[in-house]
Amino acid sequence: MTLLRAIGMMLLLTMASLLPSKAAEADLRATIAKFAAATNFSGTEAVARELAASGDPAVERPLSALAEGNLYIRKADSQVFVGNDAGDGIELLDPLSGEKAADAAKADLTKIKVNNSLRRTIRDALGTLTLRAKDASVRLAAAATMFKTPDAANIEPLDAAIAAETEPAVKALFEQARAASVLVSDKPEADKLAAISVIAARGDRDALSLLTSVEANAQGAAKDAATAAIGHINSTLALWDAGQNIWYGISLGSVLLLAAIGLAITFGVMGVINMAHGEMVMLGAYTTFVVQQVIRTSFPGLFDWSLVIALPLAFLVSALVGLAIERGIIRFLYGRPLETLLATWGVSLILQQAVRTIFGPTNQEVGNPTWMSGSFDVGQLAITWNRLWILVFALMVFAVLLYVMKRTPWGLQMRAVTANRRMAASMGIRTPWVDALTFALGSGIAGIAGVALSQIDNVSPNLGRGYIIDSFMVVVFGGVGNLWGTLVGAFSLGIVNKFLEPYAGAVLGKIVVLVLIILFIQKRPRGLFALKGRAVEA
């Protein structure tokens, strides 16, 4: 009997706990239905705010769908759905439960439009709603949002979230967000001073921006504390700025190195002024594009590997074209630099126009694999993954090339031919073949440079144009015929350029670098590392 009663009680309790949520769900549905009546952005925004104000975690689904532009109104009955792109039509999901409701054609639906301010409103609203999310990265994002939009009303939920938080990184960010909110509230001064010290410890630009507005509005001790904190942050940031310039310089240097290293072989070692060098880089970039195109249509799972697959192919394509150019044109012109210059210039125009005819004049899309997208922070320094990988890649290419030149029989023959062609020929080295293969090697290296450059630049027929002058500058500055010179030349030019840029601007910075190089060449015509010995006289 008691057992029965207990069961009955439990049933009643469950019913009771279910009922209010049913009512709440009906309310939410009624609010969501209002989207259909909103005619402009402010109307939509009002509905979104109302949804967020309910505080129910279930509204996250429709709100994030709205922010991503995936919330639709069915024209026939003005019902609101979350839409999922499914090939030719759109799959409609229930906005609250996320269960599949129906399929529809695009023409039968109206997309609810969003703009930046609406997206911002939703992001801020979701911040409060997702403080207790299971995923730590979502909580982190929520805390970051709340830090940027401080509001006195945030303190209470943040206090609760801090108490429940176990992850130290998230907890720290929660505390900073709370401090930011305290600063805009009417809490006593002691609290505000504590908040200022929490934010000052953060020490980045966001903290600076927040403290600047505190300094402008506060009085007394809080104002002084903010001023002191701003001074402190500014002096640390100045140091980080210098570090940032060096990193940017190294990164630009790695791009210059990649572009120039092939030229260091064809021009530096062989002495051929190859104006079509930039086009070899372009061919490498287009090879990447073709590889990605094939992967997109046939093997979408391999996309993250596309660059690795493109590397050998790009090397091959550019090397073969280089071989053809050497065998077809350049070998008749050895010892006549002016004619070589003009002929290769002509070749570069032909290659450009050929690519334009085959692929069209517009830019081609080369995607970034996931491991090359985004950035990470080292202190106050944001390092982007693609730049970091390009630096690593450039150094790897350099090391491999150095090994080939110094440690393999082929490298030995190459150097022998460069040092004394006739002597090498009498020793039984087939100099024409060494010439051809060396030129192919230089071109192939330019091709793999193109794979890397396709990640940061336009893939268009003009890609090579932008790099040819810089490449020659690096090789001449570093010292013709010396790979180490190219390395040092590339990095020093990159760093000098990036240190000048913030003060002189990009345009003037480039001019100053050019003038410096001209003056340097006047003083040391053979560049940084001049080659000694017979090759110089030859």
């Binding site: 952005f41 402010s42 532009g69 439009k113 703009n115 930046n116 301010s117 997206r119 911002r120 992001r123 940027k148 630009r205 600076l208 921006s209 927040l210 600047t212 507005s213 402008a216 940032q244 940017y248 990164s251 630009l252 791009v255 073709v290 450009q352 126009q353 334009r356 005819t357 085959i358 692929f359 004049p361 517009t362 830019n363 081609q364 899309e365 080369v366 970034n368 997208s373 985004g374 950035s375 944001a382 982007t384 993954w385 693609n386 940061i456 630049d457 336009n458 893939v459 268009s460 027929p461 003009n462 144009r465 932008g466 990036k498 840029e501 913030p502 601007g505 990009a506 345009v507 480039k510």
Partner: protein, 436 residues
């Protein structure tokens, strides 16, 4: 990937046949065809943008011929390639007018190419239709400007950013490529912002060279400028090729449109085609036309374009619409004048009104600029723009900016009796000079 060996051979043989035909053509052409010159670069740096405009002109001419031609004659396109070489533009324009005897020329993209052909057109008295948004401060009798003047693009864009919808921006970065269009536009914008009470320390102006590809320093400077506690936006007049690395760097350094939106004046559907727009959703562009505009005229135009170019992935853009409007205006003016004689057509052009692709009518004004709506669009993940704001009515192109001290007293009216492109209302004399 388009094209393979067999299509290349086909194209080559078609070229040979065409060359053979054109040799026998002139004798006949003088009588029963009207020639239209197309002066767009098909090689060199500008080919990326201008080749499309050549194709759209060929399409428009083909359509007009299918409708029965003009004044009972067929139209014949004469295509030349000025190869992105500014002096060559003048040479090719002279060739089109004196040798080929074209009735009108549609062409040019960069301001410097337009400036280079101006003397040729006034000397030989022919007509140029210029389809690209430009810096203004010019009004020539022989040129019809179908692209936007600064007040049809830059000023409404800044107004939008200042409004509550656009985020009530208080701090401005004016980022541009170092040449005449960005410099003049930024001069106008600076004067305009100051007239709206923006203090000088809240405006940062920066220029980069053509084809600039290493944006790390610039993007981090923008980030730094944007962390002063005031809402910041970037107004970008960065040109063509430099845009892709610029946007890639913005995406990688995590600058989101909700925090620091970038409003671009030279980025259209065509430029976005080479980009993954996922990280760029919400960044803005101001134009007078977007491919996504939902009107029957636009739908037909896009369908025709896809059929003509035989590729349904090719996008349409604002300068293409400008050529569409300009060509239809010219056809109407020739019909009105009953002749292709440039003098009579120039007089007949003013007041001609034709439908544009955004659902209204564009009219040629006496200053040789046209009326257009101004649209502000946000970049979407599929590489298209979604219109988030549109001017309530049409905006009339203002050639001499009211915000520059040199040009604020100048007006242009090519109708008789004034017939002057730079009339100074303060001194009552024709022959004022603007900025640039």
């Amino acid at each position: 990937m388009r094209g393979n060996f067999s299509t290349i051979t086909k194209m080559f043989s078609a070229g040979v046949i065409a060359a053979g035909l054109s040799m026998s053509a002139p004798a006949r052409a003088a009588d029963d065809t009207i020639k239209v010159g197309i002066l767009h670069s098909l090689s060199g740096t500008m080919a990326i943008s201008e080749t499309t405009l050549k194709d759209v002109m060929l399409m428009l001419i083909e359509e007009q011929n299918a409708k029965g031609g003009l004044l009972g004659k067929k139209l014949e396109a004469v295509v030349v390639d000025p190869a992105s070489n500014w002096p060559l533009f003048a040479e090719k324009a002279r060739e089109l007018i004196s040798k080929d005897k074209v009735a009108a020329v549609f062409g040019c993209w960069t301001s410097v190419s337009r400036k280079s052909v101006l003397p040729v057109f006034s000397e030989l008295d022919n007509i140029l239709f210029y389809p690209v948004q430009y810096e203004g401060e010019e009004s020539e009798r022989n040129v019809f400007y179908t692209g936007a003047a600064p007040n049809q693009q830059a000023i409404p864009a800044v107004d939008y950013l200042m409004s509550a919808d656009g985020g009530s921006v208080k701090r401005w970065v004016l980022e541009g490529t170092d040449y005449v269009y960005p410099r003049t536009t930024n001069k106008i914008l600076e004067a305009y912002l100051k007239s709206k009470g923006v203090p000088a320390e809240d405006i940062m102006v920066n220029y980069t060279p053509f084809g600039f590809s290493d944006w790390q320093t610039e993007v981090s400077a923008i980030k730094k400028f944007g962390s002063a506690g005031k809402k910041t936006a970037v107004v970008s007049t960065v040109n063509g090729d430099a845009n892709v690395p610029f946007y890639k760097e913005l995406g990688n350094q995590g600058i989101k449109a909700e925090d620091i939106p970038v409003m671009a004046f030279s980025v259209g559907e065509e430029e976005l085609a080479g980009l993954d727009t996922g990280p760029l959703v919400g960044h803005l562009a101001a134009w007078n036309y977007f491919e996504s505009v939902d009107t029957p005229e636009n739908k037909k135009f896009i369908d025709d374009w896809h059929k003509f170019i035989k590729n349904d992935k090719r996008t349409t853009n604002d300068p293409m619409e400008a050529h569409y409007i300009g060509f239809n205006m010219w056809v109407k003016a020739v019909e009105k004048a009953g002749t292709t004689d440039p003098d009579k057509v120039i007089d007949a052009m003013v007041g001609v009104s034709v439908p544009n692709l955004t659902g209204g009518y564009s009219t040629m004004m006496p200053n040789h600029h046209i009326t257009k709506p101004v649209l502000i669009g946000e970049i979407q993940a599929d590489g298209q723009f979604e219109t988030v704001s549109q001017t309530p009515g049409l905006v009339m192109g203002d050639e001499w900016s009211d915000y520059l001290p040199d040009s604020k007293n100048l007006i242009s009216d090519w109708r008789a009796p004034l017939s002057c492109g730079n009339f100074n209302v303060a001194t009552g004399k024709c022959g004022g000079k603007g900025t640039n």
